[in-house]
Amino acid sequence: MTGAAYVLAALGKNASLPARIGPFLVSLLVLLVCAHIGVRKFAPGASPLLLPLATLLHGIGYVMIARLSDRLAGLQATWSLIAVACFIAVLVALPRVADLLRYQYTFLFLGVFLQLLPLVPGVGFSSGGARIWVSIGPINFQPGEFAKLCLAIFFAGYLSEQREVLSTGGKRIAGVQLPEMRTFLPVMLAWGVSVVVMVAEKDLGSSLLFFTLFVVLLWVATERTGYIVFGGGLFVLGAFIAYNMFGHVRDRFAIWLDPWSQYNGKGYQIVQGMFGFAEGGLSGTGLGLGDPTRIPAVKNDFIFAAIGEELGLFGATAVLAAFVFIIGSGLRTAIRTDNAFEKLLAVGLTTILGVQAFIILAGVLRVLPLTGVTLPFMSYGGSSLVANYMLLGLLIAISHSSARRLHEVPQ
């Protein structure tokens, strides 16, 4: 499917068959077959939906990137290779995901370290307004993408052990049951650090993502709706403070409400995105036949607008559906497993993927103010792709181990 789309895109753009179509198709197929064999070999009991859906998104995203820029396509192809290698490595290294529980504090420190890394002078640098980049030698990457995984593992581990205490213990003040401070502290600390860092790094999207992850995991672990209410309240408060403290937050908000008044400035991107969607209509202009390069940052944050323009409502809906199915499979994995840690981890990982995709899609579609995060599996960017494939590897590993415990596959 990806191969066919790639050919179409090249035809639409250059009216000739892409010269490297043979090697491209073969290497792509080999890559996907490798991933598939990896799953069959190391996690045969895994949900059969996750990998195909992810590779579908990856493929459409890759074709769109290739259509936007040949140079980026080459880089993205290299990252794809690394990502699939990491995916298989996760499957090989983690026959029992539950073992990760033992290293939860390691992951806490690793997560915090990765999150802080861009703030270290000489290593970290800013790009596009956010200080989320790290440069080591010739490689630039966004450690935050990996920090998410680490922190999800820590939260899942910690909460799976402390959930009883958190949901029952503690004093009652004014009729509200408060958890014990002693057990609650590390979680608050982890969350506080990452939020503070996010604000310092001016990465609103990731900040929102972390916060959601934290609240959702607390909610699921304790089964107490109060955490959602509490979290929602904290979010409103945080948003209010951020709105008053940061000019760029106010800008984002104003553009969301009325991008037209700032057409020649900060509203240009979102307006061009809307024009792109409108141009696409039901069936799209066809790959390579639209004009998505008018949208700034179309290769990463706004890749969904390019899909809407060239593949139309049908293509964009397919992408939305793929994300919904991945979320469904991820949560089904969480429900099927009886191990509390695995359950929470599966919820956490699915939340990261689903909410991150929602944040950027909602931003591009003007459902929410725009905050720049990548669209998992689709946007251009190595760190994001590798981290998301590792995330997928973890989900598949959980899916497999629960299937094994349910004796659906041989031990």
């Binding site: 250059n14 037209w260 409502l313 939305l320 994300f323 579609l365």
Partner: protein
């Protein structure tokens, strides 16, 4: 925990349902509105930034074409295709320019559909190859000859003015150049601000370089207009080859005290052949006053004076006799002055070439045209111009008489100095020196000639007009200044147009 996870699933599903709704709003609900938004120029840019066929001269020289920037690259303005004019200013007045923000002019404007490949015929030809994305662009082939055009440019040199060469039998324009002109490459730049600045500078420049002076401007014709006056007299039966005019150096028309004089205050008279050859003013003044406003005005209108010239280019000018019948009824003096091409008579240079061509063509005035044919990308002919008679201002007999008069001008008259064609071919001509200022002021005059050749079997006609913008031009006459230009052009044109 599973209960909560299911709730979470429902929550996330609701979020994505919201996205789907909003996606529908943009892609379906508000689609038309967004596409029609004036800020949204995707549609117009896509139409503009596309392949476009060439404009080619009759001898195969490309005067306008579109080049694609290196694969996948765009210039600073975000375009992939650039319109270029390899001959620079040489054909600017015919090709025109093609811009995004300021539209297109001349052939670029009139034949835009053919060049872009969007005519119904071209679309039909492309059906069946929808998936190969074939080049649908069309080609426009001109009647103009690049060598002749270059010659016109070189002959005018730094002098302001126009030169037009026609095929007398078809009306095909072989060359049409005017100075000053402009380089369309400076206007066809993609940066809208730069293009606007270039156009503004050209609009303010002296000599109106943006206007194709040869067919979009009109000038006092001087004695070249006597061809029309003589033709009117012959057609109306007021004069004949036998008409005689007294030798005189001054004549005062009825109801006025201001006398009319000949050029250079000379004494001048004789038979019709003689006064035409020497271009005496008084006989033509008398002739016009005798014929009266109605005959005179009707006579020149038969030549299309007062009507927009029917050339296949936009915004052609119309020549003017400078008044209606009623304007001359009480002022025969004015009519007399207009009769020899002074006063407010104004002729378009192209029109003057058409006058000579009409005499050459036995009285049939052909529609001038610059586009010979249009071709689809695969070479299929889309259209071709068939020569058409615009009007028949004079009978073949009158045309034959005028032919002998004009031969006299070339042989032993005002153009004797300068119109001896190569190979002894006989030319026929009428010169003009249009005096722009009233006596007593600094004298400024346009130098005109209108001519055709060979006199016995004409094939080509020419009109040359040098604007009297300085003392150098104004010191000369139509014969001495415009004559040599006409000779060079006729010599070359006779080689271009076969017998």
């Amino acid at each position: 925990m599973n209960r909560v996870i299911r709730r979470l699933a429902i929550g996330l599903l609701a979020c994505y349902a919201l996205l789907f709704v909003q996606l529908n709003v943009w892609q379906v609900g508000k689609r038309a509105e967004l596409r029609a938004n004036p800020l949204n120029n995707r549609e117009s840019v896509r139409q503009f930034d596309a392949p476009r066929g060439p404009i080619v001269t009759s001898d195969g020289v490309v005067i306008a074409h579109t080049v694609e920037l290196a694969n996948n690259t765009r210039d600073a303005s975000g375009y992939t295709y650039q319109r270029e004019y390899p001959t620079k200013e040489l054909f600017a007045n015919v090709s025109g320019y093609y811009t995004y923000a300021y539209g297109a002019t001349q052939v670029e404007h009139l034949y835009s559909d053919v060049l872009a490949g969007t005519t119904a015929k071209q679309q039909l030809l492309a059906v069946g190859s929808t998936f190969n994305n074939v080049d649908q662009t069309g080609e426009v082939q001109l009647t103009l000859n690049s060598e002749l055009q270059k010659l016109a440019q070189r002959q005018l040199g730094t002098r302001e003015g126009s030169a037009v060469v026609l095929d007398t039998r078809t009306g095909a324009v072989l060359a049409m150049y005017s100075n000053p002109t402009y380089d369309p490459n400076t206007v066809a730049v993609h940066n809208n601000d730069d293009a606007g600045a270039a156009l503004e500078a050209l609009a303010d420049a002296p000599g109106k370089p943006l206007l194709a002076n040869a067919y979009q401007e009109r000038y006092m014709p001087g004695s070249t207009f006597k061809v029309l006056t003589t033709a009117t007299g012959l057609e109306a039966g007021f004069i004949s080859t036998a008409s005689e005019w007294p030798d005189e150096n001054s004549w005062t028309p009825p109801n006025t005290k201001n006398p009319i004089q000949n050029y250079g205050k000379k004494t001048c008279g004789g038979d019709m052949f003689e006064v035409f050859r020497r271009s005496c003013n008084i006989p033509f003044a008398r002739m016009s006053a005798d014929m009266g406003p109605e005959v005179m005005v009707n006579g020149v209108e038969k030549w299309g004076v007062g009507e927009k010239l029917p050339i296949d280019l936009p915004n052609a000018a119309a020549s003017t006799f400078g008044g209606e019948v009623a304007d001359f009824t009480d002022s025969l003096a004015l009519l007399a002055i207009h009769g020899f091409g002074q006063g407010s008579v104004q002729m378009v240079p192209l029109h003057m070439a058409m006058v000579a061509a009409t005499v050459a063509n036995g009285g049939a005035m052909m529609k001038p045209y610059v586009v010979a044919k249009t071709l689809a990308h695969n070479g299929t002919e889309l259209s071709s111009t068939s020569p058409e008679v615009w009007r028949q201002p004079i009978s073949p007999a009158t045309a034959a008489t005028l032919n002998t008069f004009m031969v006299g001008v070339a042989k032993e008259g005002t153009a004797k100095c300068c119109l001896a064609l190569a190979g002894g071919i006989q030319a026929a001509a009428k010169t003009g020196t249009a005096q722009l200022n009233a006596p007593g002021k600094t004298q400024r005059s346009h130098a005109w000639i209108t001519a055709f050749a060979p006199a016995e079997a004409p094939r080509v006609a020419v009109a040359v007009m040098l604007k009297g913008v300085n003392a150098q031009i104004s010191a000369g006459t139509g014969g001495t200044l415009a004559g040599p230009v006409a000779k060079v052009l006729l010599d070359r044109a006779l080689k271009v147009v076969p017998q």
